[in-house]
């Protein structure tokens, strides 16, 4: 039964992603069907079994094979999608680089969960943060609505810039939680994503190409340079697709989202589901007279350097939240990039890093408020005494 109007649905993040995939109706989905895979792929597999999509679903024996099958399908010209999580993404590692190096527009949902050891299956950004240098565009979702919206946009972005895109959602908090999602009519999504038209296809026998050739000292560097250029120039396409999406959905998507930021002096920077909790915390803090604001990073790759500089340039103190321990001994990955981006400014805000929520540790409104109270002290003191901190941990 086709969906003909916009409709509110109560969906888990996993179901929202699977529903978007159903409406996108990709040519090929290759996936490893067992844990650490989530209900996302189970829900999509049911659509396939019920004949609601035309997708060829390839169940493979490992996540490494899943991404390898996606590489083959995408190189053949098929619109290709998959999904994974934690250890699964880790096992895909070498093929992630092959997908991006071959400039294949694969779209993948990543349910962000902790990496072993110790064994933990809960929400944590370590998996995707580890993949940040793999040449994939990364979109991050605050809630189930954004999972749905980001996934639909990802197809267009990937195919226009010839780069793979991962859409991130927090494990359990978003993936297994039900929220209200406004879905679009089937035809609207179909028209928005269009048909994949690739000028380079292995199966186009009239225009034969070589994919995955040996590329040594004489040209490897030029190819990496052009891949980096694709990432460098992807942002205008991401923003253009966001604008077009706003036209059909009425929801605004940019590289970052500012919440009560304009007149804020103290700012929290975060990714994913915590941003929602931070918004509620900020509303309470404003009642207390604290000028608090949020900078939510939606696009993490390419890194929105200019947007961050202009958002944070005039602020007094900034706390960067990392839901991943980078093991650099001096703070998490988001912190380092934000801090680096502020270096050129003449009036730099004071910056502090909080590692939080590892392995699904709950983050309450009070936790976020504590961060802002710390920022009040930092701003008053005019300096940061220890910039690498943990939030909500037993010491």
């Amino acid at each position: 039964m086709a969906q003909k109007t916009k409709e509110l649905m109560a969906l888990t993040g996993n179901e929202a992603a699977a529903y978007a995939m159903k409406q996108i109706n990709p040519d090929v989905v290759a996936a490893y069907p067992i844990t650490p895979q989530t209900e996302l792929m189970q829900t999509f597999a049911q659509y396939v079994a019920d004949g609601l999509v035309d997708t060829e679903l390839v169940a493979v024996e490992s996540e490494h094979s899943a991404m390898s099958a996606c590489v083959g399908a995408a190189a053949g010209g098929a619109r290709t999608m998959t999904a994974t999580s934690s250890q699964g993404l880790a096992l895909m590692w070498e093929v992630l680089y092959i997908a991006s190096g071959l400039r294949l527009p694969i779209v993948m949902s990543v349910v962000n969960r902790a990496l072993s050891a110790p064994i933990n299956i809960h929400g944590d950004h370590s998996d995707s943060m580890g993949a940040r240098d793999s040449g994939w565009i990364q979109l991050w979702s605050e809630n189930a609505q954004e999972v749905y919206d980001n996934l639909i946009q990802a197809v267009r972005i990937a195919e226009e810039v010839f780069l793979p895109v991962m859409v991130n959602l927090d494990g359990f908090i978003i993936s297994h939680g039900v929220e209200v999602v406004e879905t679009l009519p089937d035809d609207t999504v179909k028209e928005f994503v269009g048909e994949r038209k690739s000028p380079y296809r292995l199966l186009d026998i009239d225009h034969p190409i070589t994919v995955g050739a040996l590329d040594l000292q004489d040209y490897y560097m030029e190819h990496k340079r052009s891949q980096a250029e694709a990432m460098r120039t992807a942002m205008p396409t991401i923003l253009k697709v966001g604008k077009e999406f706003e036209g059909i959905a009425g929801r605004n998507y940019e590289a970052v989202e500012n919440y009560r930021l304009e007149d804020a002096e103290l700012v929290v920077v975060a990714l994913g589901s915590t941003c929602g909790t931070a918004k509620d915390a900020i509303d309470e803090l404003r009642e207390e007279g604290i000028e608090a604001g949020l900078l939510k990073i939606r696009v993490f790759r390419p890194f929105p350097w200019e947007e961050i500089k202009s958002a944070l340039g005039s602020k007094k103190a900034v706390a960067v939240m990392d839901r991943a321990e980078g093991m650099s001994a001096v703070g998490g990955p988001l912190f380092h990039e934000i801090r680096s981006c502020l270096y050129d400014l003449t009036n730099r805000p004071l910056t502090v890093n909080y590692i939080y929520g590892l392995g699904g540790r709950d983050v309450a409104i009070e936790d976020i408020k504590k961060v802002f109270y710390d920022l009040v002290s930092i701003a008053k003191l005019g300096k940061v005494e220890d910039f690498y901190r943990y939030l909500g941990v037993r010491e």
Binding site: L8, M9, A10, T12, I121, H122, N143, D170, F172, I173, I174, H176, G177, V178, E179, V180, S273, T274, G276, T277, K279, D280, D362, V363, A364, I365
Partner: protein
């Protein structure tokens, strides 16, 4: 309805508390009602204590955190009342809904509960009768609708039927027995 109602389910793995929490949210969503439902998994095994949560609100819900000061707690295994953390944070005028053979007065005395409103239902037996399984979470949904007055029984049954039809498209036989259970629970739940 107050702006936001928060419900915390206390159960053991296998009693269906996750599914019930999600189903409740799905059935109440729409017409200006926003919902959120999520489980809290520990080790996923039969019999292990677990919790799930519902938020029901007249405004969009942005929070992504567990519920620490619930308006309602639903207890699927009364032995969980011996754990002090079960009652933790429950509001002074909050509701306790327990699956037990005992009546509210006995529960109050046995577990030394002060204040709050206690309701009981022999949900395990009802589930055994209708589903041939101890899925106590199913009748508790009907009881919850009665004690909170969130919806009239008719409106609730109308909406949850649609959700059941979607969810159990491949097992239609469970739909009628679930609906019958909600009705029985709605009638049989006991207050003080």
């Amino acid at each position: 309805m107050q702006e936001m109602l928060e419900i915390r389910w206390h159960a053991r793995g296998g009693q269906g508390a996750k599914t019930a929490a999600l189903l409740l949210a799905e059935a109440l969503m729409g017409e200006g009602t926003y919902v959120q439902a999520f489980p809290e998994y520990g080790p996923e095994r039969m019999g292990a204590p677990m919790r799930s949560y519902d938020r029901i609100s007249s405004k969009p819900i942005r929070l992504h955190t567990s519920i620490k000061t619930p308006d309602v707690i639903i207890i699927l295994d009364p032995s969980l009342l011996t754990d002090p953390s079960t009652m933790e944070g429950l509001k002074e005028d909050g509701i306790i809904l327990v699956n037990t053979v005992e009546d509210p007065k006995t529960v109050r005395e046995k577990y030394h509960i002060k204040g709050r409103k206690i309701y009981t239902l022999n949900a395990s037996q009802l589930a055994q009768e209708e589903l041939k399984r101890d899925l106590a979470s199913v009748p508790m949904l009907g009881a919850l609708i009665k004690v909170t007055g969130l919806r009239s029984l008719e409106v609730f049954l109308h909406h949850i039927r649609k959700e059941l039809e979607r969810k159990f498209a491949h097992r239609p036989e469970v739909i009628e027995s679930n609906l019958k259970l909600y009705k029985r629970a709605y009638m049989e739940v006991k207050g003080e």
